[in-house]
């Protein structure tokens, strides 16, 4: 087995038989190369599976050996000669330079380390890793590292690995304390909140500029978004609202039957759907559907520099892209909420008829007696507010997208998370306000 020479094919599959294997013609052999450099690694081979692995012999000259790689040391005055032989492959466990070469003998009277590679077989990055370790080791201890005793291609690769100095960055390492991390997160959260507030302000400005004639909007875009946010989302809203109505009715039926008050299931369903669940469920669906879509659309526009192209033409992305989107979802959400309310009540009605034996007229009497118009209007109001929330958080996250390919996905995810968080938060605030003014 000859050591690697410059005649080794740059790319190719080697089928040379190895010492303890016959007819080794594994097609999965993968040679390895560094693009553009006229240097080859050794040919990589699958490991012999009967490899006994690492064994350390403390006695005798041989310090470390496996079936494949061998490291032996000799002394010549103050020079330590490291004899490298056998096959060096990453599939075998790697020796550590300090413990195998220097460790047992100590470095007291050694001034230089040189190498003897006359019996070296084929090798790959494992040998390089070992030699680079050795180089660092020698530098730390002020020993002379005789690189010239290594074959030319090996020393060239080692030189290549040191060509560019390690970049000194101000990037912090991960081992910061809990308090630091907590503080950083808190500051980041506060900045997110400021971003949202600033963005809402810019939106409001552009929105009013639209009515004072200082800005224009592309109405065709607006109608396209209206379409996808109304008829486009009806199937999913129908399904979810119906099932939520059914679920609430079942819950009510189970609890209220105990008190013989199953008549009030219709009250529970309609009150719940109109005041809370109709708007809330629709908003959550829209956050996942529309908010994510807005973020992804604007995010990919940012990556392809389409947003920059608008800016350099002096066209505000807010009035051109954000206003039509937010306005469309703001206007459609109340309508979808009313629709979801109706479908949810129908779901409750189905449970009443099939499960509780309550007739349709009795159901509606039970519904209309306690439920007032203000309950329904509160739900519609919520729908409008949630629409604004979904639209704004989707567009904000889209415009905040980074510049790499994964960023669009992150933008969509964070649009949904921000949207849903804000929906739940504003829902609680509105309920609190409604309780205060007695609606």
């Amino acid at each position: 087995m000859s050591p690697l020479t410059s005649t080794t094919p740059f790319i190719g599959v080697d089928t040379v038989e190895t010492a303890n294997q016959t007819n080794h013609t594994d097609p999965a052999c993968t040679p390895c190369s560094i693009a553009g450099q006229d240097i080859s690694f050794g040919v990589l081979r699958w490991p012999e599976f009967d490899n006994p692995g690492r064994s350390i012999k403390k006695a005798g000259g041989s310090l470390w050996q496996s079936s494949a790689m061998r490291v032996e040391t000799r002394r010549n005055d103050h020079t330590l000669i490291v004899e490298l032989s056998g096959e060096w492959r990453m599939q075998s466990p790697l020796p550590r330079f300090d413990e195998t070469v220097i460790g047992p003998t100590g470095t007291e009277d050694i001034r230089a380390v040189s190498f003897d590679t006359s019996d070296l077989g084929e090798w790959d990055s494992s040998l390089l890793a070992f030699l680079i370790q050795g180089r660092q080791f020698c530098e730390e201890r002020g020993l002379e590292y005789r690189e010239e005793t290594l074959p030319g291609n090996i020393s060239r690769l080692i030189a290549l690995s040191r060509e560019v100095p390690e970049r000194v960055t101000d990037r912090k390492d991960g081992n910061t304390s809990f308090v630091t991390r907590f503080g950083e997160k808190a500051i980041a959260a506060y900045e997110h909140f400021l971003d949202l507030a600033r963005f809402t302000g810019e939106f409001a400005q552009s929105f009013f500029a639209l009515f004072t004639g200082r800005a224009r909007m592309r109405w065709r875009d607006f109608w396209l978004i209206v379409q996808s946010n109304s008829s486009g989302s009806l199937p999913i809203v129908t399904l979810i609202a119906f099932l939520v109505g059914v679920i609430v009715a079942f819950l009510g039926a189970v609890v209220l039957l105990r008190f013989g008050a199953e008549y009030y299931v219709s009250y529970l369903v309609s009150y719940g759907m109109l005041r809370e669940l109709g708007a809330l469920m629709t908003a959550i669906i829209m956050a996942g559907r529309t908010g994510a879509a807005f973020a992804a659309e604007l995010g990919s526009m940012k990556i392809t520099e389409e947003i920059d192209a608008l800016k350099t033409l002096g066209i505000s992305p807010i009035s051109f892209l954000v206003v039509p989107r937010v306005m469309a979802v703001f206007l459609m959400m109340p309508l979808l909420t009313v629709y979801a309310d109706m479908i949810g009540i129908i779901g409750g009605l189905v449970v009443n008829i099939t499960f509780l034996d309550i007739s349709v007229p009795r159901f509606f009497v039970g519904l209309l007696e306690p439920v007032t118009l203000s309950d329904a209007l509160l739900g519609v109001f919520k729908g409008a507010v949630f629409g604004l929330t979904v639209g704004l958080s989707g567009c904000l996250r889209g415009l905040q997208t980074g510049t790499d390919a994964g960023a669009v996905g992150q933008a969509a995810t964070s649009a949904v998370v921000t949207g849903i968080t804000l929906i739940i938060l504003t829902n609680a605030l509105i309920d609190w306000g409604a309780a205060l003014i007695g609606v």
Binding site: E305, D308, A309, L310, T312
Partner: protein, 269 residues
């Protein structure tokens, strides 16, 4: 062209991302009607410099003047007016994908002129014809090839007859024929319309073909290390980095044989 008032003047410009300084002390002037190349290796801040010039990123220090008007000191209205005089061809074209080519070219006209729709259509057709896309008005960006997209984007950049045209890596992603056709187009625009053109590029072929003057952004020095005609710079490189860049010499070992420029030469001179 000596003695002509500079159209663009950059004074002591410092560019930074947060606290990381990309380039500092940048000084250069672009004269009216010349083709000016900004060259440098990957990551040297060419595109960042472009962002500063077209008003997308505020400088960390220094000034940019357009015809003696300090761009970043000016109020928003003036800035918008200055931006209206620039056209930008982005690296990937950056056509608005939701709109047809005609709508793309028409948008700046709708935004800044009071032309009637029929007149706008006429101008749009003219601009598309100028870049060799006659009859492609109703196509969407996704339906045409990368080279055509770049030319359509050029038509959009030229919609308002800008005084200054910026090109960000015009030849990137194009085959050699499309790239050279775009280079021809750049020369024709300058010769025909007298537009000042700034090209950001690392494509030597393109730089040597079109550029009258060029600056070199050196990553190591973090500033401009060469300024002048690209051919002159190749013949008499002021430093090794510029020489390597302009002759495509590899850094490792090969530089010592066969290249016209050697380290000892500098030491000797």
């Amino acid at each position: 062209m000596e003695g002509v008032e500079p159209t663009i003047e950059v004074k002591n410009l410092t560019m930074a991302y947060d606290s990381f300084v990309v380039m500092r002390d940048l000084n250069f002037q672009v004269r009216k009607g010349e083709i000016f190349a900004i060259m440098g290796g990957s990551g040297s801040g060419k595109s960042t410099l472009l962002k500063h010039l077209i008003g997308l990123k505020k400088p960390a220090g220094g000034e940019i003047f357009y015809d003696q008007t300090n761009f970043w000191e000016a109020d928003e209205k003036t800035r918008k007016q200055l931006q209206r005089r620039m056209g930008v061809l982005y690296q990937g074209g950056a056509l608005w994908s939701e709109m047809t080519l005609a709508e793309n070219v028409a948008l700046p006209l709708e935004e800044y002129t009071t032309l009637k729709p029929a007149e706008i259509r006429e101008i749009v057709s003219l601009k598309l014809a100028l870049v060799g896309l006659r009859g492609f008005e109703e196509f969407y960006p996704a339906e045409i090839s990368g080279g055509m997209r770049k030319r359509a984007a050029l038509a959009r950049a030229m919609a308002l007859d800008p005084d200054i045209l910026y090109f960000d890596e015009p030849s990137s992603g194009l085959d050699p024929i499309s790239a050279s056709r775009l280079d021809d187009l750049i020369l024709q625009i300058r010769d025909g319309l007298g537009t000042t053109i700034v090209v950001v590029s690392h494509d030597l072929e393109s730089i040597f073909t079109v550029a009258d003057r060029a600056i070199f952004l050196d990553i190591g020095e973090k500033t401009i290390t060469a300024i002048g005609n690209p051919d002159d710079l190749r013949k008499n490189p002021p430093n090794e980095e510029v020489h390597r860049f302009l002759t495509r010499r590899n850094v490792i070992e090969r530089g010592s044989n066969g290249s016209g420029y050697q380290k000892n030469k500098v030491k000797g001179s």
